[in-house]
């Protein structure tokens, strides 16, 4: 059993490879948790060190790929050169229901495809014309967001002016999102910028834009699901649970969400937020502006689901609380069956995680439900408040790595020898070449959902499938042993 001191020594060893300046800077981002610490003790949300192979993306990825992109009935323009929109095209598995290209647009790529002349003369006219063309070809769209790419901010275009003009002309929302990739240090600022555009460009006109369901009366149980991006359908089992305990979900923002749902949000009695990192900003704003309280929940694994359902129900009356108990009880046999089957196969297995958003902490208890132990975790783009929250989730001696570099992650994994690594696509095959079982924790490795009780069943199956995959036993040739 490795002690805190052992692991600290191991972190030091890894840092030795860096040149002095980089070593100094990276050493603040790596730590080992001590007993009863209230924080993970790492710096975060700082600039990545050049050349070390960060896994981070950019503000555009956070704004277009995460926050706005899943709003299914709006058209999201990758404004600038062709690449950003191309690489992020249909890559995130934000499931939605709709007729793509007619009333929904989630798996399409819209771009202004900047050429050199647009850089020289500016792209505002092109943008203006482009929105005209969208109106002709996609009359059922519910509006447009403009996600600007690096050059747009550098050449001084005024996308806000175009947005104002076109919003007036089309009678639909046109939201300029200044998410150029060089802004901030990661995707995280893109989330914030996108949240701010909801605050500044959408909510002030919410009453005007909103179409209420026929006969809709605000009710005491109206809630919003905030920060679930419906990866592999995650938001749907979550919605199912909330509705089953008697709440009325009036908005999903943004997985499988619509623009109308976004403008429904101020009518809710409470914001229930799953991905705190990407959507806390708008929740805080709505709390201040509309006095809507917000509550974080965690729908990974039966322990946290039950805890979260009770926590949510406690905000409402006894009928809701009673239903929450019913729902938890009704799923218990299913969960017992799953745990029976998979604990036996996974007990004691050790995991290293590295993801974004909420997962580096939220998924820890789901692994623990399966008898597994998380020995290392870290965020791509977390902030101090994320690491503070993480301290409640992880045990003593957990290695914490913020904005881990490719080199650090490989070296730590070689030394710590986990049974499973749970990170992203860029890491997956590095570790699989080391014969280390791996699951993608951004895309659920094309599986899912992982949220809710039904999602946990899939999660358990998938973790077992990765670790107990029979091909690992084939890696070494028999004559080489």
């Amino acid at each position: 059993m490795a002690t805190v001191e052992d692991r600290k020594a191991l972190v030091q060893e890894v840092l030795e490879a860096y040149p002095a300046k980089a070593k100094k800077s990276r050493s603040k981002h790596l730590n080992v948790t001590e007993a009863d610490a209230s924080d993970c003790g790492v710096k975060s949300n700082k600039k990545s060190v050049p050349g070390v192979m960060t896994t981070r993306g950019c503000a555009y990825a956070g704004a277009k790929g995460v926050v706005w992109g899943p709003v299914k009935d709006m058209i999201h323009i990758s404004h600038g050169p062709v690449g950003c929109g191309y690489y992020s095209w249909s890559g995130r598995r934000n499931y939605y229901i709709g007729t793509t290209g007619v009333d929904t647009f989630g798996t399409m790529q819209f771009t202004s495809d900047f050429q050199e002349r647009d850089i020289v003369f500016g792209g505002d006219k092109k943008l203006d014309k482009l929105i005209d063309e969208l109106e002709v070809l996609f009359p059922l769209s519910k509006g447009t967001t403009i996600e600007s790419e690096c050059p747009v901010g550098l050449i001084g275009d005024d996308i806000e002016a175009v947005a104002r003009k076109q919003a007036k002309k089309t009678g639909k929302p046109v939201v300029p999102v200044r998410c150029e990739g060089f802004r901030g240090v990661s995707q995280s600022l893109g989330h914030h910028i996108a949240n701010d555009t909801v605050r500044d460009w959408v909510l002030p006109k919410a009453d005007e834009y909103r179409q209420l369901p026929e006969g809709y009366e605000p009710g005491p149980y109206d809630v919003n699901i905030i920060g679930d991006y419906n990866i592999g359908g995650d938001a749907w089992p979550s919605r199912l649970l909330l509705e089953a305990i008697g709440l009325r979900v009036i908005c999903q923002f943004s997985g499988d969400g619509t623009f109308n749902e976004v403008v429904m949000t101020p009518l809710a009695k409470m914001n229930l937020i799953h991905c705190y990192r990407s959507m806390n900003y708008i929740c805080r704003f709505m709390e201040e502006k509309y006095q809507i309280p917000w509550l974080e929940y965690n729908f990974f694994g039966p322990t946290q689901i039950a805890k979260s359902l009770r926590k949510i129900a406690a905000q409402f009356d006894e009928t809701i609380q009673a239903k929450a108990e019913e729902v938890i009880a009704s799923f218990q046999p299913r969960m017992d069956a799953i745990l029976d089957k998979y604990r036996a196969r996974l007990e004691g297995k050790e995991v290293m995680m590295m993801v974004g958003g909420l997962r580096p902490r939220h998924v820890v208890p789901a692994f623990e439900d399966l008898g597994m132990k998380v020995i290392g975790t870290g965020y791509e783009f977390g902030h101090g408040d994320d690491y503070k929250r993480t301290a409640d989730y992880v045990g003593e001696g957990t290695v914490i790595y913020d904005d881990v570099s490719g080199f650090e992650f490989e070296e730590l994994a070689k030394k710590m020898k986990p049974d499973l690594i749970a990170a992203g696509i860029k890491e997956k095959y590095v570790f699989q070449k080391m014969a280390l079982p791996f699951r993608q924790m951004h895309s659920w490795d094309y599986s899912g959902p992982y949220h809710g009780y039904e999602g946990f069943e899939v999660f358990a199956r998938d973790m077992d499938m990765a670790i107990n995959n029979p091909t690992w036993s084939l890696v070494n040739a028999p004559w080489a042993e």
Binding site: Y18, P19, A22, K47, V49, P50, G51, M53, T54, C58, P81, V82, G83, Y86, Y87, I97, T99, G101, D103, M108, S112, F114, Q115, E116, I119, L130, E133, L134, L137, L140, C150, P151, G153, G181, F182, Q187, P213, E214, G233, R239, L240, V249, C251, T258, N260, E261, S330, P333, R334, I338, F407, K426, Y429, F431, Q432, M434, G448, E457, V458, V475
Partner: protein
Amino acid sequence: MTENTNPQVPANPSEPGKIQDHFDLFHTDTYQDLFEYKRQFEGAHDRDLVTETAEWTKSWEYREKNFSREALTINPAKACQPLGSLFVASGFEGTLPYSHGSQGCVAYFRTHLTRNYKEPFQAVSSSMTEDAAVFGGLNNLKNGLQNSYELYKPKMIALCTTCMAEVIGDDIGAFIQTAKNEELIPQELPVPAAHTPSFVGSHITGYDNMLVSILKTLTAGKKAETTNGKFNFNLGFDPYIGNLRELKRILGLFGIDYTILSDNSDTFDSPNTGEFKMYNGLTTLEEAGDSINAEGSFFFQKYTTPKTQDYITKEWAQKTYNFRPFGIKGTDEFLMALSAVTGKAIPQELQQERGRAVDAMTDSQAWIHGKRVALYGDPDHVFGITQFLLEMGAEPVHIVVTNSNPDFEAELREVLTNSPYGQEATIWGKKDLWHLRSLMFTEPVDLLIGNSYGKYLWRDTHTPLVRIGYPIFDRHHMHRYATLGYQGAINQFNWIVNTILDELDRKTIIPSKTDISFDLIR
């Protein structure tokens, strides 16, 4: 307001013990009801209006509106320059691709390549932010070069730029020299650099820019008095690593001494040994440096490599040859030229293979003959497929090339005009896959050939899709096969004919209705 009549959670899965993931779960009544209930909050359009509008998007009227677009691009079939730069750089020994500019770009390139090949792809970034936008990226580049050199110990760093570095005008040549002068990286470390903004050209342009820079860097001062007796080969932005291996096999059969300029076949297909090896580029720096002394250079993607070929012709005074060894005739021409240039006879084994390929094509030809085809992709890629389709008597109808150019179009048009099967074809240069959607609705075809993004056209128009191209994210292992040479011809028409036969089975699978033609023997 519809009441939520079904807020009950199913206490048990439909089949006890069966775990339902997204493929089944969301088709259950519980979730179908949930979607229906959710709909009232969505501000959704009337269903009839959606259906009506969907029909309208299939019309000639819509097509005309769609083709009058001037500013808007929808679903383009092109990526941007650095992707090609990273791709070509990764074929050289010990080479670390480096992207100078904002850091998000490199995350996208790595992700894209990794998803296609299911292989790791390692590359680094200067991680430039707002301060660099104001003061320039010199400090980021200096730190980035030093850190990446120390951590990853590359033999070469191949540096390309992102839009940001280009718009602010970073002088990368001078920056690299500064890093060397300050001894942050060794003077002798080759650091070829290419300007690769996304707003110029596409991924094939970036391929060319990086390749020419690598060759300039590595061959500097290497020109010898005599030639080395070798030939250089370059495949361009060809996603099929099977093609590199097939080419090497062919050259081995000939007994030709060669250098592949960028052999990334192991980069994108390295064995699982339980150990991660970061660098798998197979073209050694020494070989690449000596490529200046070769007898000549063969290129298989003319429109991907104009600058490289111009450089080789002018600066090296070396002869360049352009061939497209795809399909039977394309391969014949290549082999005859190889034989003529090297004075070596066409190996018996290849002659046998040719016979087998022609034999196999003849066996399947009846199913392919006269089939109307839509296809899209890079210029040279589309060229190779078109010439092969014509050989089989298939009729290319819509040919969409987003990153097209006039010379390519003229050359391909001539091929089409000269074939009885090319008469229906139109080359749609600079158009995108939303244009193609209109084309396929108004002038339907039997078959679509393209990358994974073609699956959305398959869904909408019900035209079966043969996946040939880049990227292919939703089928496994396609890149391992060759499309080049006689073996490649067999692979390609195997994919094509069996897609057609699968589609026929799907069409005839309803008992007592369509299964009259659900034939056992075809």
